[in-house]
């Protein structure tokens, strides 16, 4: 193949990791919600899209991108809290497909509402000025904004890890995920824990949507494609495993990137091939607990 060099392969690897960071950020909320609540949130892509539009709205009110980084996850997270309280909560204790169908329907409602309010046409979303342009990372030029996205994803992961592992509330969340019955007996209001977990998960989805907007603009359908990819990430990583989602997200990014280099037509198929392969060898995914779905 013409033009193939070590630098190119290195740059391609890096591009894969950068893409993986976006997958991780998106999938982590999905994985968190599934791991704790066993809710397969099909509306996750819609929350992601809402994040981009909330960002647009905040910018139109005169906010700047940095304020959006705080405001958007808060706003989308609050919306997530309301959705959990009103729609998801009545379905706990029923079979896993009830919340799945509910969120599936909800995603259509959300997309259609955005189409009605903001129009079917997407909107441009400018990269913040200070993050525009490409920088030389040693092996070639790479967009500065994508480097920022990697950093932002790492920061969110770190914060989430500290929250879950180092705070007492995090302890309750982890305990609640393992055995809600016992936690309830100990006098903890489990429903409140689930409420907050759903809020955090959707808040991160909104954050990911905001970060994606300068890359591709905001459009009502933007959550659709990434949802399929995120499900692959969570399945490969192991449903409900946060560490698994991180590893799988980066891996999927690299697989897409490397396939793009040699056979771009196959890039989309390659991630599903990867999923099939992992499922054959290790049905619960990298770090998944067996039997969570049953």
């Amino acid at each position: 193949m013409a033009g193939l060099s070590l630098d190119l392969i290195a740059l391609q690897l890096f591009a894969g990791l950068a893409l993986g960071a976006i997958y991780v950020l998106f999938a982590i909320g999905l994985s968190l919600i599934f791991g704790m609540l066993t809710v397969v949130n099909f509306a996750h892509g819609a929350f992601y899209m809402v994040g981009a539009y909330v960002g647009l709205y905040m910018l139109s009110l005169g906010g700047n991108f940095w304020l959006c980084l705080i405001g958007v996850p808060l706003a989308v997270g609050l919306f997530g809290l309301a959705v959990e309280r009103v729609l998801i909560r009545p379905l706990y204790g029923r079979s896993i497909d009830y919340p799945l169908l509910l969120t599936f329907g909800l995603s259509y409602v959300m997309v259609e509402l955005v189409r009605i309010v903001f129009g079917k046409t997407g909107y441009p979303f400018d990269t913040p000025e200070i993050l525009q342009g490409a920088v030389n990372i040693g092996v070639g030029y790479f967009p500065l904004y994508r480097l920022f996205v990697i950093g932002a994803a790492a920061a969110v992961l770190l914060a989430l890890w500290l929250f879950l592992e180092k705070t007492s509330f995090g302890l309750i969340i982890r305990a609640g995920a393992r055995d809600p019955q016992i936690v309830r007996v100990l006098g903890v209001d489990v429903s409140k824990v689930w409420l907050i977990v759903f809020g955090i998960g959707t808040g991160i989805a909104g954050f990911a949507g905001l970060l994606a907007a300068p890359l591709q603009g905001a459009s009502p359908e933007m959550g659709g494609t990434i949802l399929a990819e995120a499900f692959v990430v969570t399945v490969v990583g192991g449903m409900g495993s946060i560490g698994g989602a991180v590893l799988a997200g980066l891996l999927v990014g690299v697989v897409v990137s490397m396939t793009s280099l040699f056979a771009p037509e196959m890039a989309k198929v390659s991630i599903f091939a990867l999923m099939a392969l992992v499922l054959i060898v290790r049905p619960q995914g990298f770090f998944g607990r067996a039997g969570l779905m049953s």
Partner: protein, 418 residues
């Protein structure tokens, strides 16, 4: 922002429709029905399947607007001896299967007399299959080479849009001598992209271009970051991006982010007006491509001026886009032929369309006899980023290829008997 709502009218049942239906049911039982039915003349329905949702949605909505204008003008001028035209819009979702179903529904249920529409090289062939079989005139308003070829053509098939062969030919003849020989293609992996690349390679032979790579991506791709490093490494003189709609917006934005414009001239067979407006000036800056229509040629053609003014008046000062103009042209030519033929009879309208020499919005055009391809001009445009007079002032026309059958593939080459 509220445009979403106005697109829906065609789907709902109006009071008049309801009364007509009920009336028809009553008449069916009546002995006077023959006389009465002759008195009650139905409207001339034009089916209009376009991808209102999905990556080409922006363009499709403008097609609907402009087609609505053509219908309104026909009706204001008295219709066909008082018979009014009506546009029946359907969302084909950019999916050939969906388009075929919707078209069948338009023909069978809505009883449309004509079909105009489509915004995809692949989808229009699906529509054409249905209309061809049912003997309904179809005027396609999006690019395709295959639709001219004998295998897909029928006497009911017309093609108001440009085709990839003429478009890529015009852009190639302009760009290759100016910017260099080493070319990389970034191509949407379906008929439109493939036909464009074929066209560029064909015209490129004369300029001795070197095809470094043809990198293909699926339609609706939202991340090009894994395709761009290789393009960067190949160091082409020209990057030719053969995709459309949101794909074009996103790929141009990301190519700009990767700093490709510093070393490479980006060209596109077609620069979409709606995409440029939606994406903002940054992503399209300096990009060169073709188009079938730009409102700015109103200084040159009275027909363009008239079209722009009517469009402005109907849509609050907005200006028509390239694909909007095709929606207008597609419907207006059919209605003009209806008026010339004095009838909606398919064969008479076909003959009238074949005889039409028209200048409705962009200077002189006519349908070539053998494949019903509209012979017309191609404009080469460059995206503007400063000195814009209004929000539609986004391109500047840097060259024009006048209508010339010599730029089309020959009738014999397409498999037509000559």
């Amino acid at each position: 922002m509220t445009e979403g709502k106005s697109m829906r009218k065609s789907g709902s049942i109006s009071r008049r429709r309801l009364l007509t239906t009920v009336g028809a049911a009553v008449l069916a039982a009546s002995p006077f029905r023959i006389n009465l039915l002759q008195a009650e003349e139905a409207s001339i329905k034009i089916g209009f399947p376009v991808p209102l949702t999905g990556p080409y949605g922006t363009e499709a909505q403008d097609q609907v607007r402009a087609a609505g204008l053509a219908v309104a003008q026909f009706n204001d001028a008295g219709g066909l001896d008082g018979r009014k035209a009506e546009l029946v819009v359907r969302d084909d979702k950019l999916n050939p299967g969906e388009a075929a179903t919707r078209t069948l529904e338009l023909v069978e249920k809505e009883k449309v007399s004509f079909v105009v529409g489509s915004l995809s090289a692949a989808v229009q062939l699906a529509i054409n299959n249905v209309t061809k079989e049912r003997g309904v005139i179809f005027n396609s308003i999006s690019q395709s080479d295959a639709i001219n070829e004998a295998a897909d053509f029928s006497k009911y098939t017309f093609h108001e849009a440009l085709n990839p062969h003429i478009t890529s030919g015009a852009v190639g003849r302009y760009a290759f001598p100016k910017f260099g020989k080493k070319v990389v293609f970034l191509t949407a992996d379906y008929a439109y992209g493939h036909e464009m690349v074929r066209g560029f390679l064909e015209v490129g032979k004369a300029f001795d271009i070197e095809n470094l790579a043809d990198i293909r991506h699926p339609i609706g791709t939202t991340d090009y970051s894994t395709l761009l490093p290789r393009i960067q490494a190949l160091k082409p003189d020209i990057l030719c991006i053969c995709n459309f709609g949101r794909d074009q917006q996103i790929s141009l934005k990301q190519a700009t982010d990767f700093g490709l414009k510093q070393t490479t001239q980006i060209i596109a067979p077609l620069l979409s007006h709606a995409s440029r407006v939606a994406a903002g000036p940054q992503a399209f800056e300096g990009v060169i491509g073709g188009c079938s229509f730009y409102w700015g040629i109103e200084d040159k053609f009275a027909s363009t001026k008239a079209f722009n003014d009517a469009f402005r008046k109907m849509y609050d000062g907005r200006l028509p886009s390239d694909y909007g103009a095709l929606g207008y042209g597609g419907v207006r030519t059919v209605l003009a032929a209806v008026r010339n033929a004095g009838s909606v009879d398919t064969d008479k309208v076909v003959a009238a369309l074949e005889a039409l020499k028209y200048d409705f919005y962009k200077g002189p055009q006519y349908y070539r006899k053998c494949d019903h391809q509209s012979v017309q001009s191609v404009m080469i445009i460059k995206s503007k980023s400063k000195d814009m007079r209004n929000e539609s002032d986004v391109f500047e026309v840097i060259s024009t290829e006048e209508p010339d059958e010599a730029n089309l593939r020959g009738c014999a080459e397409l498999g037509h008997k000559v």
